[in-house]
């Protein structure tokens, strides 16, 4: 089932299926997942543990190849079944940003360096990357913590830094796996609203895996996963919430 929204496509999956094992031990973790997320959209992916959310996220994040189906980022076919059509590491670096549940910062770098490294890996000169990293941290309200080590940041600050890093190379897709699980409700909402703003300001397609029912109003669409299948929650489908 494909759900279309206004604007250019950021990410599209076609009949995405992932099977682990074979024969008697075969487990279908995801079956025929069809999702279309356009630029500027923020969508939620709900579902109980073991429903296949992480499998879907790692597949579209180009970390864990699907068994069959296709993944398109922008207009480009990236995965055709398990076969990569592009250099995955380069593609991840330039097109995809990741934010995860627990702190996903490099522990031996400070906040600014965590953002800067993403851009330097993409070939940006160190001075420019540093400048841009400070800008991003400023946008996310943590510029004053730029030179602090990871362990000196609160959970919310760490998530903001992670978002800044995810946005560093202006990706077309932002993937977040339970980014508010470690945060209190106020911070959780702040982070979700941050995604909303990122989608709007940077034109990225954002997919957020979450259990947090309190923040669903932030999303343009909500998908639910159960036994490896994705369903849309029709009531939540609507135009992008760009305001």
């Amino acid at each position: 089932m494909a759900v279309e929204m206004a604007g250019e496509p950021a990410i599209e999956t076609r009949d995405l299926t992932k099977v682990y094992g074979s024969g008697n031990t075969e487990v279908v973790a995801m079956r025929d997942a069809n999702v279309l997320v356009r630029k500027g959209e923020v969508v939620a992916l709900l579902g109980p543990s073991g429903s296949g959310k992480s499998t879907f996220l790692t597949a579209v994040g180009l970390i864990n190849p699907p068994t069959s189906g296709q993944i398109l980022i922008g207009d480009q076919l990236v995965m055709d079944g398990p076969q990569a059509q592009v250099n995955l590491r380069t593609f991840r670096r330039t097109q995809i940003g990741y934010v995860f549940q627990k702190s996903n910062l490099i522990t031996f770098l400070n906040a600014r360096e965590n953002v800067q490294i993403a851009m330097e890996l993409d070939g940006m000169p160190s001075r420019d990357a540093r400048h841009r990293a400070l800008e991003l941290l400023g946008e996310l309200g943590v510029a004053d913590r730029a030179e602090h080590g990871v362990s000196m940041l609160s959970g919310g600050q760490q998530q903001r830094v992670a978002v800044a890093r995810a946005l560093a190379n202006s990706p077309s897709v932002l993937l977040a796996d339970e980014p508010t699980a470690a945060l209190d409700s106020r911070l959780g909402r702040q982070v979700m609203e941050l995604f909303r703003r990122v989608a709007r300001d940077h034109g990225a397609g954002v997919i957020v895996v979450t259990h947090d029912q309190r923040t669903l109003d932030v999303f343009d669409a909500v998908y639910e996963m159960e036994d490896g299948r994705i369903h849309a929650q029709p009531a939540d489908i609507g135009p992008p919430k760009n305001s």
Partner: protein, 404 residues
Amino acid sequence: MNLAIKDIRANLGRFTLTTLGIGMLLMIVMGMAGIYRGLVEDATLLVERIGADLWVVQKDTRGPFAEVSRVPRNLVHRVTTVPGVATAREFVFHTIQRQHLGKPLRISLLGLSWPQDKGEWLPLIAGRPIGQSRFELVADKSLGLTLGEELKLGKDTYTVVGITTGMLSTGGDGMAFTTVWDAQVIQFDAPSEAIRLERAARDQRGQTSEVFLREPALSERMGLPATELAAVPVPALSAVVVRLLPHADSRQVEELIASWGDTSVFTREGQNDLLLQGMVDKARRQLGMFRALLTLIAAIIMALIIYTLTLDKLYSIALLKLIGAPNRVILGLILQQALLLGGLGYLLAYTLGLRLFPYFPRRVVLANEDLIQLAIVVVVISVVSSLLGIVKALRVQPNSVLMG
């Protein structure tokens, strides 16, 4: 941004301690090579400094350094007459150990052939060469004697008139230089009681010997010290050192002197070979084995540390891969740390060694050749020791970030 440096900054304490440990290990490896070089230099120093073309020693001995050699004093005159010989000098060498200021003092004593040789060739850092035929002494600074100090050796007192540097015997003992006469007096010094007993025994033998009964004057002379008795052989030399005339045929001179029934001859190279093969070879092999073992231990420790440092940042490495870091960045992170560890350890070893080695009881000579060789070894073991960590890091899957 240099990730290796950033990681080190975050683990500065551990990295510093590890570098210190590796540095001290490498310093010992460096020291082993230096001790060997010192042994070689000490062993050959005297032969090189004396600069003799030929060494004439007692027949069938490897003297005077490798074993005891005794040749008569008149051998000097015999050798001088050989065509092609420019000069022939007496050589007396022996080691003594005496108490000095309540401490044992080992001296390798070398007799200079006064007045031809006053010791002008010695590397003096203070004072002057020998200036009179008796009771003056030039000492190496390693003996701890000072200029003008008086040293009682046997029944006589010697004044230190010059200080040399780096003059050590093959055994590593500091050297002192006197005239040949003084060196022999010191060598054959006997306690007064022993002299009295010997004199009495001589007198007693004289009373029963027909020769002495017929020549009473001879009996009176028996009371003199042995060294002053014309009829009694004077103390022997250790060797005769020979300098050849320019363009003289060394081989011919050597063969001629060696054909005499009481002498063996060695060239300077032959003497050096005797010293190195006989005295230094086992030490060289022993030190070589220690060096190899210590290098291996240093490599194992480095591998372990690099591996542990890598394990500690597996999550960060997975994250780097996830955000698209190419393998060369991960490889560079680990390899640079290993090279930094090795490089800083090497520098520390060198710096510490320069300060500590002079206090070692034996000379430690840091030769450029050994330093370069060790630097190459350090680079190799740094690279090899990082392999375990690199393999581990390259196997980390980026999705392990999500699992963790």
